[in-house]
């Protein structure tokens, strides 16, 4: 087998943020891209995440309406204090 790292889909999901931030080592970047090139679901995943990143990256805190901000904060607090999902 090759000495180069080879990733499976789960690792691609775990590494995609680091990849987009430019944080992977050169050999890992190459392995990441080689996997994405031959894996249609990972191609789609990377493409979707980039779209989300572009859209979300254009938002500031001020873009969130106060009412939505309040309801989101309540939901997060409720989630944190509520029973853990099994």
């Amino acid at each position: 087998m090759s000495d180069q790292p080879a990733f499976v889909c789960q690792e691609i999901v775990e590494l995609v943020t680091e990849y987009l931030d430019g944080g992977l080592e050169p050999s890992e970047r190459l392995a990441f891209e080689r996997h994405v090139a031959i894996c249609p679901p990972c191609r789609g995943y990377l493409s979707q995440l980039r779209r989300v990143s572009r859209v979300a990256g254009g938002l500031s805190e001020d873009d969130v309406p106060e009412s939505l901000r309040t309801s989101l904060l309540e939901a997060f607090r409720g989630w944190k204090s509520g029973p853990r999902a099994k």
């Binding site: 970047r29 190459l30 090139a37 031959i38 249609p40 191609r43």
Partner: protein, 242 residues
Amino acid sequence: MRAYKFLAHGSSGRFSEFSWPRPAGAEPGAWVAATERLEDCRHGVHACTPGQLLDWIDDELWQIELAGEIVVRDAMVVAERGRLLELVVQWDGQTAQNFADACAWRARDYALNSLRRVGLTDEAERLVSAVELREMQTGAVAAFERSDGEAAELAGFAADAVSLAQGRRPEMWDPARPVTLVEPVQTPGATAANLAFVVAHAAGRGAVAAAGSETAYDDGFAAERKWQLAWLSERLGLPTDE
């Protein structure tokens, strides 16, 4: 240096998302230059030699001219500047699908070799006599259910290969299930890239089974990649660099 570059639909880089300037008439596209020092998968114009095509299969294949500093790696070529010269028109959705189908038939061959090796000759003959992929898949599923070990593994790969060639998930062996279950719908280029790799892996597993040694994997994988590259080179009229 002349090289090749696969791009996604719309002539955009799969990883950079850069929209490449296309040639206009007989004029090549505009030069695109790296803005920072060359770095693999990060900075520079990335392309490949004919022998490196299989790793980067995508929707469009272009001839590209590279200039300035050029670094040839095992898996790619990275250059300071590049411009698109000409679309390889032979590589289109139909050719990609034909390539995927050819790879699926190769998976059949690895399965039947294994079935013969373990003495399941009736199951092997059923695969030999199949003239359509779905018929082959039915035979592969039946062989999978009647075998175990290497034969089951390779018959399973053959059945998977037919699903993959049709843009389905590999385990979707039931032909009655609609293709639209796959979301998002993938392009023939993505299907071809995926299936070619899967079948090379099946070839590696078949080589391991035949030799009784895990060390045979690389040779089996490489032999299948060589066959795939020859298929592409012949259909696309590309030179070989081996």
